[in-house]
C-alpha cells in the first residue's frame, strides 16, 4: 500500500520534473537543499527494536496500541515485538526480564499493577533501555508515561453519576478492576475525591472484578438484587463493564441506573454500547492518539542523544466523553479492524 503510493508519487514527480525541465531548462539551474537531520534520524531508528509487554493481547486497547506502533515505526525499519503476559503478572515479569537481556531500544510496558514491574523498569533504564509506560503506570517513574489521568476519570465518571442521582436514591455502586492496578487504584481515588464533596451519596458496594466481565456481571447482579433502587454505577473499564451493563439490562433497569465507565473508545466497545444505552457515559482515552503519542516518543527518544533516566515526563491523554449526543457521530470512536489494516 505505502509502497505503491510511494512509487506512484515518485512516478508523478519524475514526470513533473521532466516537464518542468523541458519547459524551462536553462532558467532553473538552482539545486534543492539537503535537510541535514533526516539522515541521522533514519539511521538512529533503522534496525532498532521496540519491545511491547501488554497485560494481555486480544482486546481493543492492547491490539490498538500494537497496531499503531507497528504502523508508525515499521516503515522506519524498526521492529516491534510483542511479549504477551496473558493476564499473568509472573509471565509479564519474566517477559520483561528476558527483554532486558535482549537490549531493545525501547520497551513499552503496560503494568498490571503499580508495583510488580517497578524494580524491573528501574533495572531496564539503568541498562540503557527507554521505558515508556502506557496507560497503567508503575510506582517507579520512567522516561515517559503515556496514558489517561485516572484520577480525572474517576472524578468525572463519579460526578456524572452523582449528578444523575440528584433527587433519586443517592445509592451508587463501584465496580473496580484489579485492585492494585493503576487504572483501578487511582480511579478509586478520583471516586473518593468526588464522594468527599457529596456526603449524601452512599456507596452500597465497591468490589473488584479483576477486569473480568463475568465477575462484573455477577457482582452487579447481586448489588441490584439487594438495592433495586440503585441509581448509578461507576465502572472502571468498559471492557469489563459490558458485564455490568448486561446485569443492569437483565434487571430491566437500563436508563434508571446510570452506568459510567471509561475505555479506549473503540467503536464496538464504546460508541455502539453507548448508542444502545448500555453505558450512559464512557470516557474515552482514544487509543489511536495514545498510540501515536507513544510512537512519537519512541522516534524522539531514539533519535535524540539522551540517556535513559535523564528525563522523565508524562503525556496525559485528553479524554473524549462518549455520550448519546456524540456516540452516533462518525469519528468519535475508532475501529480496530481499520487500525489493523
Amino acid at each position: 500500500m505505502t509502497h505503491s503510493i510511494t512509487t506512484r508519487w515518485v512516478g508523478r514527480l519524475v514526470a513533473l520534473s521532466a516537464l518542468v525541465c523541458a519547459l524551462a531548462a536553462p532558467a532553473f539551474a538552482q539545486k534543492g537543499l539537503d535537510e541535514p537531520f533526516q539522515g541521522p534520524f533514519k539511521k538512529a531508528l533503522a534496525g532498532k527494536t521496540v519491545g511491547y509487554v501488554p497485560v494481555a493481547m486480544n482486546f481493543d486497547l492492547t491490539e490498538g496500541w500494537f497496531a499503531v506502533l507497528k504502523r508508525e515505526l515499521e516503515p522506519y525499519g524498526m521492529k516491534v515485538v510483542v511479549r504477551d503476559a496473558n493476564w499473568s503478572t509472573n509471565a509479564g515479569a519474566q517477559a520483561i526480564t528476558t527483554l532486558i537481556s535482549e537490549k531493545p531500544a525501547v520497551i513499552v510496558v503496560h503494568n498490571p499493577d503499580v508495583q510488580t514491574y517497578a524494580k524491573l523498569i528501574q533495572r531496564a533504564e539503568k541498562e540503557g533501555i527507554f521505558i515508556i509506560q502506557i496507560n497503567m503506570g508503575s510506582a517507579f517513574r520512567s522516561t515517559a508515561f503515556v496514558g489517561a489521568n485516572w484520577i480525572e476519570i474517576g472524578e468525572r465518571d463519579t460526578q456524572a453519576v452523582v449528578d444523575f442521582c440528584k433527587g433519586k436514591s443517592n445509592k451508587i455502586a463501584v465496580v473496580q478492576g484489579a485492585l492494585s492496578a493503576a487504572a483501578s487504584a487511582y480511579t478509586l481515588k478520583g471516586v473518593e475525591n468526588v464522594l468527599a464533596k457529596n456526603p449524601d451519596v452512599k456507596v452500597v458496594s465497591s468490589q473488584a472484578a479483576d477486569w473480568d466481565a463475568a465477575k462484573a456481571k455477577a457482582i452487579t447482579q447481586t448489588v441490584l438484587k439487594q438495592n433495586p433502587d440503585l441509581c448509578g454505577i461507576v465502572g472502571f473499564w468498559d471492557g469489563m463493564d459490558i458485564g455490568t451493563a448486561a446485569a443492569v439490562k437483565e434487571a430491566g433497569l437500563t436508563g434508571k441506573v446510570f452506568v459510567a465507565t471509561s475505555g479506549g473508545g473503540e467503536q464496538k466497545g464504546a460508541c455502539d454500547l453507548v448508542k444502545s444505552g448500555a453505558f450512559d457515559l464512557d470516557l474515552s482515552y482514544d487509543v489511536p492518539t495514545q498510540g501515536a503519542d507513544m510512537a512519537a516518543l519512541v522516534k524522539w527518544l531514539v533519535s535524540s542523544d539522551m540517556k535513559p533516566g535523564t528525563v522523565k515526563g508524562s503525556v496525559y491523554t485528553t479524554l473524549i466523553p462518549v455520550t448519546k449526543a456524540n456516540a452516533g457521530i462518525d469519528g468519535t470512536c475508532w475501529k480496530l479492524e481499520r487500525l489493523k489494516q
Partner: protein
Amino acid sequence: MKEVVLRLRYRYWPDHLLGEILSKRWTETAIPVIVLLLVAFAFSEAIPGFLSPNSLADTARQAAEIGFVVLGMALVIVVGGIDLSVGSMFALTDFCALFCLDVLNLPVPAVAVITIVFGALLGAVNGFLIGYLRLRAFITTLITLIIYRSAYDLLLFDYSNTIAAAFPDDAVWDFMGGGGVFGVPSVALLYAMVAIFGHVFMTRLRPGWHITAIGGSRRSAYNSGVAVRRTIARCYAASGALTAVGALFFAARLSTVGGDVGVGLEVTVLTAAVLGGISLGGGRGSVARALVGTLIVLLITNGLTTLSVRGGVNRMVLAGILLVAATIDIRWLKNRTRIIAKVYVSPTFHHMPALLGPRVGQGSRFEQNDKLKDVSLIGLGRIEAPEDVILDRHDNLYAGSRHGDIIRFFPPDYEKMEVYAHIGGQPLGMAFDRDDNLYVCIGGMGLYRITPDRRVEKATDETNRSLYSVNDDSRLRLADDLDIADDGRIFFSEATVRYEMHEWPVDGLEARGNGRIICYDPATKTTRTVLRGLKFPNGICVSRNGQSILFAETWGCCIKRYWFEGPKKGRVEMLIDNLPGFPDNINLSSDGNYWLAMVGMRSPALDLAWRMPGFRRRMAKRVPLDEWLFPNINTGCVLRFNEAGDILETYWDQAGVNHPMITSMREHKGYLYLGGIMNNRIGRLKLGKADPDFVQYETRWRKSA
C-alpha cells in the same frame, strides 16, 4: 556364507540391550531428559541468546520458585493423591509474606518462618481431610482451591493498596528476590539444596520409602505397618510448606499481590510433574523428574513468549502437552511390562554340530538302555523338586525341595524324613565343605550355608558388577551348582543373569550365553566373577587334580574345564562337545571318573531354530509363552565319563516313569542316588561294579587333608 553373516551380526550387534534399557527405571527419567534437551536445542536455535548465562539465570530464578511447588505436587502425587489447591496456597502465602513484611513490618527471618508455617497449615487442612477423613484428593483440593482463592480475594480487598504502596528496603529481602552467588540466583541455590535433600529423602530414608509404598499400593503399605494416614497428611502439609517457600521468593522478587497471582498455577505445575514422568497413578516419581518437568514447561512457555506467541496459544500448547504427557504416562504404565516382555527376549545365533542321536540300533555311545529300570524310590510323593541330592559321611541323604526346605532322609531305608533347614528359596546344587557345612545354591537368593548345628547363613548374594552391563548383574539371580576347591574357595555357576529361575526355558530360547561362573572365598568373604558369557553353566565339579573345575553348559551341550590353579591357570578347555542332550550336574564317581546328568535331549527342531534367531524372535513376539518351542526335557539319562572326556557308560529309564529327566546324581557306598527338578521322588540304584565304601566326603577331604 549367509550363516557367517548371521553369526557376525548376532555376535556384534547387542540386541539384548534394548529390552534391558527399557526395563530400567531410569529410562522413565531419560525420556523427559531427552525431551528437555530437544526443547532447549530447538529454542536456542530459534532465539539467539536463549541459553546465555544471563537468560539461564533468569529462567533459573523462576524455575526454582515454581520448582518448589512442583516438588510439593510431586510428593503428593507419589503418595497417590493430587493437590489442585497449590495455586491458591501460593497466592495466600505470597500475601502472608507481604502482609507480614509491609503491614506488620516484621523482620525478614520472621516473615520467612511465618510464611512457611502458614503454608504448612494450609496444606495440613488438605492433609487432615484426605489423610485422616479419607476424602477424595481431587474434590477436596478443588474445594480448598476455591476457598483459599476466595480468602485471598477478600484479604486483597483490604490490603492490596497498602502492600502495593510499600517499598520494603531490606538487604536480605532484596537478596532473596534478586541476589545470587556467582550469578546463580539465591532461590536456585536453596532449590538445589532442597532437591538434593529431597532425593536422599525419597530414595534413602524410611519416610521416603513409605511415601512411595503408599502410592504404589495403599493397602499393601497399610498391611506392612506403614502409618498410611499420618504419612499422607504430612505429604499435603509438606506440599503446602514447599509452595510457601516458592511464594516467599516470588514475593521477594515481584512484591505483588495482584489478583492473578497463582491463577492457573496448578495446571502449570501438574504439567511439569507429569511431563517429568511422575506418574499420576502414584508410587512412581523422583526429584530429578520434578526438576526436568519444571524446566521443560518453563523453557516452552518462556520460549514461546519470547517468540511473540500470543498468550492464548501459549496456554493451549501447555494444555496440549499435558494431555500428551498424561496419555503417554497412562499408556506406558499399562503396557510397560508387555512392551518390555516383547523386546526383552532377543534370540541370538547358536550353531550346533550334527546331532548324534541316542536311538537304539544307531550304534552311538549314547544308545538307550533300561539300566534305571530297577531303581528303588525314596520319598515318593513326599518330596518335590529335588534338583540335587547329597549324602554326608553318616549316610544321611539331603535333597532340596520346591518349598524352600532342605529335607533330610535317614538311613538305612531312607523312609524317615525331616526338614533339615528352611531357607525360603528353591535349593539347587549342594556341597559339603571340610567342616561339614552344607553349601547350597538357592535360585533367586544366592549362595547359602547350613552349619552342622543347622543354622542357615548367607554366604554371598552379590558379585562384582560388570562394567558394560546394562542390567545390574551384581545380584545373583540363579545360582545353580557349586563345588569347593581344596583351599576352601567355592566355585558356583549362575545359569543366567537375564532371567529369573522359572524363566529358564526362555534363556534356552535366547541361547545367548548369559551365564557365568563365580568364585566365593570364605576366607576373605569376597565374591568375584571368574567366567562370563557361558550358555547356561550348570553342573560344577572340582576335578581330581584339584587345579581345575569341570563345568557343564546346558545350552552349549558341552563340558568344559576351567583351570583355576597350576600352569594353565585361567584357561578354559573344551572337554566334551556336541553332547546329544543338555548336561546338568557333574559329580565324582568311585572309579575315579565322573558322573553326568542329562536333563533333556536335543531335538533337530530346536537345533535348527537355534540357527534362526529371526524365527525365534518372531515366535517370542507373536506366540503366547506356553506355545513357544521348548527344549525337550521329557527324557534324559545319567552317564559316566573319564578325565579325557570319553563316555564310558549310560543309564536310561526307557519306561520314562521314574526318572525321565535327571538333574543330579550322587554315588555313595555302592549306590547311585538320582534327583530331578521336575520329579517327586529320589531314585536309588545299586551299582554293579562300584566301590562299596565310597563316600564323597572321604574322597574329597581326607585325601587332601
